[in-house]
Amino acid sequence: MPVREGVVTIVQESRFQLVGDDGSAHLFILGRNAAGEADQLAPLQRRQARVRVEYARTRNLIGFVAEKISVCGESGR
């Protein structure tokens, strides 16, 4: 599963924007099987936490499905 690291800069419902070290921004949608809820995303954005997102590609959508989010340096999801 592809992985991307970065900082969560925007959160809207279950959608979030991740900005990587190269400055590129990508849109992710929290997948239905991800072990997390949408309301757990906003604290990540407020903390400007560095996160590691394991994701899958989607059909007919310019965005990725986040399957697993872990805060870098922590084991939590």
């Binding site: 925007i10 959160v11 809207q12 419902e13 279950s14 959608r15 979030f16 924007q17 849109l27 949608i29 929290l30 997948g31 239905r32 809820e37 949408a38 309301d39 989607t58 007919n60 959508l61 310019i62 965005g63 499905v65």
Partner: protein, 302 residues
């Protein structure tokens, strides 16, 4: 619209923060809880620029969907969906009773453009169908899905007479326009209305918008557009079947079906009692028929 006197207080381009009650400056209305807000979409001034679609996607962080060409004029989003909460319809027509009639210069088509959106119905069928209470009426009289409560059952999808609500296969939850609930709470005008360059989408207090729309219809009638009418105001087409009225209503110049709107939308809850009664009547009828047939066979045996 004249400039609001408070606008002179903010002449600089680089602002230190959000302007308090910014909607007063951009839409001429102060947003206060307990009042009823909505959209008035005047399709006669829509130029199909899709700024509303883009603003909606930008603010709500919605992904582009329905990739590729639809083949329907300049329409690229196709329809409202879980990821498209504003949809600009391009209807190529000829002769709509005045506006963009068949008298254009050669090679000019007659386009009807309309920025479609959730209607935020007064008696919202999606809200009535929701078994978890995820859909609720906000303090601004708008209808919003609470994502943490939605269980993705999808009952709201067929309940909506306008085909607005959609369940995303990606996150398994229902999504639709929130009328920028987060912006309203911050005193900001919804993103689509703010971005609209021609004021085709107007945001404001519902009673004010309805009065403004009536005036606009009268002006259009005077200017030789007799086909202009409102869709979704009390007593008008679109506000039928016990829906009450639509908080997002439209000024149209052709039949509603031309814009892919239902001519007489209804509240599915109205059909519950007749359905239940007909079901019970059918069961009772079958029971009587069975009793008669069984009785007849008993009589034959004896």
């Amino acid at each position: 619209m004249t400039m609001h006197p408070r606008a002179a207080d903010f002449p600089q381009s680089d602002l230190p923060g959000v302007i308090p009650h910014e909607s007063e400056l951009t839409a001429g209305v102060r947003i206060e809880p307990g009042r009823s807000y909505g959209f008035f979409t005047d399709t006669t001034v829509c130029i199909g620029c899709k700024a509303c679609e883009v603003a909606c996607k930008e603010w709500n962080n919605l992904p582009a969907d329905n990739l590729g060409l639809t083949g329907h004029s300049y329409d690229n989003t196709g329809a409202l969906s879980a990821n498209t909460w504003r949809h600009v319809a391009f209807v190529e027509t000829s002769g709509c009773g005045g506006v963009r009639d068949t008298v254009e210069a050669p090679f000019q088509s007659g386009w009807l453009m309309m920025s479609d959106v959730c209607k935020h119905c007064h008696n919202a069928p999606c809200l009535e169908a929701c078994p978890t209470g995820a859909l609720f009426k906000t303090e601004f009289d708008t209808v919003v899905v609470q994502q943490d409560i939605c269980n993705g059952c999808g009952y709201c999808v067929p309940a909506c007479p306008f085909g607005v609500v959609d369940v995303s296969p990606v996150d398994g939850k229902a999504h639709k326009c929130t009328l920028c609930y987060d912006r309203l709470k911050g005193g900001l005008e919804p993103a689509c209305a703010k971005a609209c360059p021609t004021d085709s989408i107007q945001f404001g207090e519902l009673s004010v918008l309805q009065a403004r729309a009536e005036e606009r219809v009268a002006v259009l009638h005077e200017r030789g557009v007799p086909g202009a009418y409102l869709y979704g105001t009390p007593g008008a087409p679109g506000a039928t079947g016990d829906l009450g009225h639509l908080n997002a209503f439209f000024l149209l110049t052709a039949r509603p079906e031309v814009y892919n709107l239902p001519a007489a939308p209804t509240r599915p809850a109205n059909r519950v009692a007749p359905s239940l009664a007909s079901g019970l009547a059918a069961v009772a009828g079958l029971a009587v028929a069975a009793a008669f047939l069984l009785g007849a066979s008993d009589r034959r045996r004896s």
